[in-house]
């Protein structure tokens, strides 16, 4: 052993470098951050899916044509398509062929032969101009002018439901996020309390040697912030890997139409370690200052 050279001495940290508890706490924070990141990814993806669906629905309308007595369903549908084509804001209107219309109903019937006896209504699919879509009223008026009995569905009730569902998802994700942040703060506060109790000897000696409450609190603050950042990084990396797997498995189709994950979404997870460190620092400081304040 070389003799000790005071000139080379560097101050050692007041808190012991490692505590047994630290590993477990880092794991808890990693799991919480993993869940938080998944929640965020899910929220972003479902928001994107909802926007995609409403965009598709907004660009089209469906018209159900009820043939009048004396007119074949085919001719009624053809006339309706023609009437609709000339409405401003309609880019394309086409009658759905009989087979396709029947195919839509067939799954709901036990015996496909019944179809022949059923007055299956004819559908006209309408593509709307995205920038200036034709209104339901304008289309209804054009149909009436041709003496056609038809109902126009511009999908607005569907869109309302999808939007409501998307909004609900957003709020739910936000709520879960808040809960996770609170759970993280509580875990840190608990650990700080335990850390202070376990290191009471150190805290007391520093306190009696004239250390300010802020100085002592900062030791715990720094320690728990670093630990949380580490746990947050691990959790975020796990979530990012999970998201990347979804994206790869999903590809263009697969899962993506339901939960379309974009590569750029994965950068969201980077905020997690920072947020975790912030929450941890705040919780540790609050707890430490309160406990040190009790000393004298």
């Amino acid at each position: 052993m070389t003799p000790f050279d005071p000139a080379r001495w560097r101050p050692a940290p007041f808190l012991p470098r490692s505590d047994v508890r630290d590993g477990a706490l880092t794991f808890v924070i990693a799991v919480l951050c993993f869940l938080a990141c998944l929640t965020a990814l899910g929220a972003v993806a479902s928001d994107r899916a909802a926007r995609g669906w409403t965009a598709q629905l907004a660009g089209s309308a469906t018209v159900v044509v009820h043939p009048r007595p004396g007119e074949t369903p085919d001719s009624a549908a053809a006339r309706a398509a023609e009437a609709l084509s000339s409405v401003a804001g309609v880019t394309e209107a086409a009658a759905l062929e009989k087979e396709k219309a029947e195919a839509l109903i067939a799954p709901w019937l036990d015996d496909p032969r019944v179809l022949a006896d059923l007055p299956v209504p004819r559908l006209v699919t309408v593509e709307l101009d995205r920038r200036a879509p034709a209104s339901t009223e304008a289309m209804t008026a054009a149909l009436k002018a041709q003496g056609l009995d038809a109902t126009v569905d511009d999908h607005s009730s569907w869109m309302k439901e999808i939007k409501a569902a998307a909004g609900l998802t957003r709020w739910a994700a936000f709520g879960v996020f808040l809960l996770i942040a609170m759970a993280t703060a509580a875990a840190i506060a608990f650990a700080t309390r335990a850390g202070l109790a376990a290191r009471r000897d150190i805290v007391e000696v520093l306190h009696l040697s004239g250390a300010t409450d802020g100085f002592i609190a900062r030791m715990f603050q720094v320690r728990f912030a670093r630990m949380a950042a580490l746990g947050g990084l691990a959790g975020a990396a796990g979530a990012a890997a999970f998201g990347a797997t979804l994206r790869l498995i999903g590809g263009g189709e697969g899962l993506t139409p339901v939960l379309p994950v974009a590569w750029s979404d994965l950068s969201l997870t980077l905020a997690c370690p920072i947020a975790a460190a912030g929450v941890a620092a705040l919780a540790a400081r609050r707890t430490a200052v309160a406990l040190i304040g009790e000393l004298t």
């Binding site: 000790f4 005071p6 101050p11 050692a12 007041f14 009696l208 004239g210 004298t296």
Partner: protein, 242 residues
């Protein structure tokens, strides 16, 4: 003995006392008082022993002085400040002017002897380059030159005691308090430690030592404050006289 504690008439002295108790009482929680109506004043640069049976309140008295407890009634003036009016934010600054040798040492077991001694200097935000040499010299002075890297649990009782003393004096406190600093060592070591305190006192530090060691008190000839049942008295003549 010019350095004696003053019972009454503290205000008569020209020099302002470094510490003054005015009818101070203290209790732990709702328990009966452990100190009752304690009054005294210490001049800067004085040296006093606090004696008394076990449980007489010696450690409690010191706790009041090193700001680890508050009196239940009465006034304490420390370094000329009325502690009842001192804002909490100032207390750390006052504590930095006091060195304490605790009855149970309170060394930090995970830190080397060198790091333990450096604690008060680090808290006072001094730069390592400014105090490294001082710490090493002080450790040599208390006979721990070869133990600078040792962890406290590996030290002998007397070594721990000297380490605790080194930490208490390293920041050159104005007031040094020692609680039973010779409690766990043999007679020879007790004398060595006592001489160390006298040396510091010569350099200007006010010293207060709580002890059971009647023999040491008698040999030293230093003034005594005696506690009995929580009350303070001042035996006038040191017992070293024949």
């Amino acid at each position: 003995m010019s350095r004696n504690a003053e019972t009454q008439g503290a205000s008569d002295t020209a020099e302002e006392p470094i510490l003054r108790f005015d009818q101070v009482s203290m209790r732990y929680g709702r328990q009966p008082e452990v100190l009752t109506d304690v009054s005294f004043a210490l001049r800067p640069g004085s040296f006093h022993f606090v004696t008394g049976a076990s449980g007489a309140g010696k450690s409690s008295l010191l706790k009041l002085i090193y700001l680890a407890a508050k009196p239940s009634s009465g006034l304490i003036h420390l370094f000329g400040e009325d502690l009842s009016r001192t804002p909490a934010a100032r207390l750390p600054l006052l504590r930095r002017r006091i060195g304490v040798v605790f009855q149970d040492f309170r060394l930090l077991d995970h830190l080397s002897a060198f790091d333990n001694v450096a604690v008060p200097l680090r808290i006072a935000s001094q730069r390592p380059s400014d105090y490294r040499a001082d710490v090493a010299e002080l450790l040599g002075w208390v006979g721990l030159k070869a133990k600078m890297q040792a962890l406290p649990p590996t030290l002998a009782g007397g070594e721990k005691q000297r380490l605790a003393i080194a930490r208490a004096v390293v920041a050159r406190p104005d007031l040094l308090l020692a609680d039973e600093p010779t409690g766990n060592v043999d007679h020879q070591m007790a004398l060595r430690i006592y001489r160390l305190f006298v040396e510091l006192n010569r350099l200007g530090t006010t010293v207060v030592i709580a002890t059971h060691d009647q023999d040491l008190v008698a040999r030293s000839g230093q003034p005594v404050m005696h506690l009995e049942g929580g009350r303070l008295s001042f035996p006038s003549a040191p017992r070293s006289r024949p």
